[in-house]
Symmetry: C2
Subunit: 396 residues, 2 copies
DNA sequence: GGACTTCTTCCCGGCGCAGGACAAAGTCGT
DNA sequence: ACGACTTTGTCCTGCGCCGGGAAGAAGTCC
């Protein structure tokens, strides 16, 4: 069931495709304004894109004072699959060539079960999306996994929370199953790509994207490109020491950021606070559901629970200390905070901001926005689609 | 006394020039092996380089089994000026086009006197080098300053240790004086470029270069290019918190790495140790010279002074903690330790290594060399020459 | 309805560039 | 010493990229 997607023949065509992807339908004349090419050349390249079926004509554009131009848009039947595998759930979405999400499924899942059952589930979800008429086939798929990846090969390497995946040829296997090109990356990197396409980072070239969920990671974008490091483990900031001689961490050290502030750590703190009677609200929730999550802390804090506010503030301060260091080091133009704990909202953001603005030098923080992610689960799947679209929209 | 240096006309020529710069003289045939160009094209471009005088023919190369090829080398009369302005001294060197140092002067200087007297001194040193017959004029000059720089304009911005320089048009002024292109950068970035050209980083694309001198900074190289951050302050790691609620720092915070371990901090610790009678060796040196520097600590440690060994070990551990965080975050392929404290030698390196290998994750440290800088003062000036040569060897 | 603007197509000539043919210069074996 | 083979450098041809002019198509504005 292989689906042969045409590929751009040269860099000009690739450039045009990405422009159409990022800025939507555009008239030939507008395209001419954006890509430094002569009219004749542009006409030839656009015509070839139309011939190969990657783009289609789409009626007439509004006049700009003279003859009306023809609209060009990416082929409306192109489909990308975005998959975001988390620690405890999986997101699968279908997008069109402009990376608009046409359908999105979320299901609980345990990544520790290993690649084979997880992929069965993912393929089932993809089939479901296909069956609902959203796609006839896929022109590419991007996959995010919660651990480091040897990017060129698309293979997870030594992932701490998904040991069974070490060395599993994710890219190869999925490409076989889906019959289309596949790219694999760390989930945090994909979140960063999502921000680049649809989020706060659209006009920034150097930024950090901190994801605080079950674990903690950081997507690093340098000059508009994701920095993955020499072994694919760049951005693994969960095990930076935040508290000297602090809590023991699964990695064997003490005081790791992740041990003091993450979805897991926060839930544990919440349970302790409830059991010690420091927070009636949490105690009530614990009694009701039998367990607590970061969301419960956020809800209780929003309702005014002082203990929960303290937990959030302390955690934000810890995270802020580490982020302040990264800001001093990297001097980004933007920091985006995302992941499961985003539900803690502005209390968290305020604590992080305070710490960063206090600890980093004025030159680095002077014009540095620190914002919450606004895309939620969309960021990951859009980032995945963006990753593979960059690949498909590059010369063969 | 403007000297008009030819510039490459296209990217091919630029490529060839850089190849000749980095790998020395080469035969036409060898050049053909390294650049993906047809023989005809290559011949045309090389001939043009010869015509413009950027390169010269240099005899016949050894035979590779057939007709002997002609050697090509960069024009032997090209000269770059490398200037490295430190906090308390200045280095000026002349290099040829292959960035070999032909002459090198070092003089004490106080950067706080401001740009005008410092530049007078620099120009005097350059004139001295010229007068000794090393250069007739300069085809470009690179300048390193100990503070952040707005790179495109070549202007220092808000430099803490050189307040008088804020906004001074270094690039413009020196270009006027010297009559040649000038580029300005942070001294740490230039040290990193020096490692790339002549040091440990020749075959690495992503690495960090930590300079521990009067202050502490870090050069960041991503994909073979220096990362300067959005405001030019990337790598400013001296004010990352190393010790919660630690010593007060000039920046207004507490526990900054620089307050606990730098040339200045170490000298102060040494004086205290001497006065408190914890180190007879240091006391003797203090009595003799009236002051102490990091070098004294190194010498005493080498002679077996336990207190000094402790000072070095503690400092290395502090630095190692911060570097461990950077390694987790950035996942470099190499870390080079340089700057004034390199004199502390392997005791320092051992402490840093221990801490990094202990605190960072195995995937990031598995194949990570951490080495001492071997170039010393040469790194800065060669890096400066490399910076401007990259500029001169790019299409106009 | 006429003058002006904008957009598209067609066409020409220059340039970059690859690759083949050929000459020059050397090596190696006999 | 000589011929066969290899490597290197030069010349030439042809293709495709590409910019820009000219002309026509389509609209706007007065």
């Amino acid at each position: 069931m292989r689906r042969m997607t045409a590929r751009p023949a040269n860099a000009h065509q690739a450039r045009l495709l990405r422009l159409l992807r990022d800025e939507g339908p555009n008239s030939r004349a507008q395209l001419g304004d954006r890509v430094d090419l002569s009219r004749s050349r542009l006409a030839v390249e656009v015509d070839r894109l139309l011939e190969t079926g990657l783009a289609v004509a789409d009626g007439l554009a509004a006049s700009r004072g003279g003859r009306r131009s023809h609209n060009i848009r990416l082929a409306p039947n192109l489909r990308f699959l975005g998959v975001d595998i988390g620690a405890t759930s999986v997101d699968v979405a279908v997008t069109n060539a402009e990376l608009e999400v046409l359908g999105h499924l979320t299901q609980p899942m345990d990544v520790r079960e290993g690649p084979v059952p997880v992929f069965e589930q993912v393929l089932g979800m993809a089939a479901k999306l296909k069956a609902s008429g959203l796609a006839e086939g896929f022109d590419g798929a991007g996959i995010g996994v919660p651990g480091p990846v040897r990017f060129p090969e698309g293979v997870p390497v030594a992932p701490p929370i998904m040991p069974g995946w070490d060395g599993f040829p994710v890219r190869e296997a999925l490409s076989q199953e889906l019959g289309c090109p596949v790219m694999v990356d760390n989930d945090v990197n994909l979140m960063a790509l999502g921000q680049m396409h649809a989020g706060a980072a659209r006009s920034v070239d150097d930024y950090l994207c901190v994801k605080i969920g079950t674990g903690i990671g950081c997507g690093i974008v340098v000059g508009g490109k994701v920095h993955r490091g020499v072994t694919g483990s760049a951005g693994d900031i969960g095990h930076i020491q935040a508290v000297p001689d602090g809590r023991p961490c699964a990695c064997g050290n003490r005081g790791c950021l992740e041990a003091h502030f993450s979805g897991a750590a926060l839930a544990q703190d919440a349970v302790e606070a409830a059991q010690q009677g420091r927070s009636p609200q949490l105690a009530a929730r614990l009694a009701e559901y039998g367990r607590l999550t970061a969301a419960d802390v956020g809800a209780a804090a929003a309702a005014g629970d002082a203990t929960c506010l303290d937990l959030i503030r302390d955690g934000g301060t810890r995270a802020g200390q580490v982020i302040a260091g990264l800001v001093s080091f990297f001097n980004p133009g933007l920091v985006v905070i995302g992941g499961g704990v985003t539900g803690l909202g502005h209390n968290l953001l305020a604590a992080i901001r305070t710490q960063v603005y206090r600890q980093s030098l004025p030159l680095a923080t002077g014009n540095l926005p620190i914002v919450l992610d606004e895309l939620g689960a969309t960021a990951g799947v859009v980032g995945a689609a963006r990753l593979i679209s960059d690949h498909v929209f590059s010369p063969a």
